[in-house]
Symmetry: C2
Subunit: 180 residues, 2 copies
DNA sequence: TTGTCTGTACGGAAAAAACTGTACGAATAG
DNA sequence: CTATTCGTACAGTTTTTTCCGTACAGACAA
């Protein structure tokens, strides 16, 4: 086994690990392989480069590089004299994690919060309604308590996302200082 | 619209929000609907209850309640005199979030760490090899630096998971005190 | 033991997602 | 202006995932 091959082995192992975990970022494994491939290239790559490297269609490269860009894992690069779009991996993985975490959970919080708010007011109204049977009111009361609990939970989750977005999380879990 | 119906509306809205976000726990929407349904029931439910409530097959109920259990979102309950298996939702959503977070990311860290470790030693060996061309060695050197960076990142991620598992996260982002 | 009931493994059907090739709009070069 | 080149929308195909019905193993009752 020559040097080139051993180098590729080392790269492939890590790339495969990325591919198998990229689902945590909501992306399919192929996007992970694409990312891994880009990660080990010094130069920004064009869609055609990727097509050649991975042996997949250019359309696939286009759609998944877009997904990677949306996920803030990849960004466009510019280089004078090159007309094609160039892409490179963003190199701050800590920020990448934070971006993923905040966008995913912020969306979840917002969706749930509005649903909870609406249902709560609807149930409160129901409690005051004379025409509603006592039996239904009891169930509504129980539901309200449940909703108040999860409302608090989502409020906590929102503050958790804040803590990541504002980098307060690094106070609790600091990044290892290189100088140590 | 009568009271019963309005109650069901309120429940359905929240359940649908759950269904649309349960993918964050790695589960399909149907499992989310199942969870939502269970959430609004006071009593633990059997598989047959769920089949009736959701109009889905018993096999589906079985597989997805297992997935929910594995995800620590649901647990088995016992009730004397009932031979069938009973299930209820776990009521600590904070712990549920932590369980999901830790299992998912711990697995990711461990997979990556071992891949990185292996590839690093392979590349180090390659650097010391006389027969390997200088050109390849340069690429290997660049790869090593990249791998050292992400090794630090995963070490940080591991500590982050610790912070959740050990509940240190509640120091940074406290749960709202009910008495306030 | 035999009969009944419960949960799940398994194979196939239905639904969803990923991937490809063609075709076209936008941008640039000449 | 025309010709070329790039990226992506779209429709169709392939692959993967989800869901169902049957059948069976295990537990319990009698």
């Amino acid at each position: 086994m020559d040097g080139q091959e051993r180098l590729e082995n080392a790269r492939r192992r890590v790339t495969e690990a990325i591919a198998q975990n990229i689902y945590l970022y909501g992306l399919p494994p192929a996007a992970g392989r694409q990312y891994g491939m880009m990660f080990f290239h010094n130069e920004p790559l064009t869609l055609d480069d990727m097509t050649e490297e991975l042996g997949m269609s250019k359309t696939s490269m286009s759609t998944s590089v877009r997904a990677l860009t949306d996920a803030k894992l990849v960004e466009r690069a510019w280089r004078r004299g090159v007309r094609k779009d160039l892409y490179k991996v963003k190199d701050d993985w800590y920020q990448g994690f934070i971006d993923m975490f905040t966008t995913k959970w912020r969306k979840s919080v917002s969706l749930h919060s509005s649903a909870i708010r609406r249902s709560l007011t609807e149930l409160e109204k129901l409690l005051k309604d004379e025409t509603v049977s006592e039996e239904v009111k009891e169930m509504a009361q129980a539901d309200i308590e449940r909703l108040l609990y999860i409302r608090d939970y989502y409020e906590w989750l929102d503050r958790l996302v804040d803590a990541f977005e504002d980098h307060d999380i690094f106070d609790l879990v600091p990044i290892k200082d290189e100088s140590e």
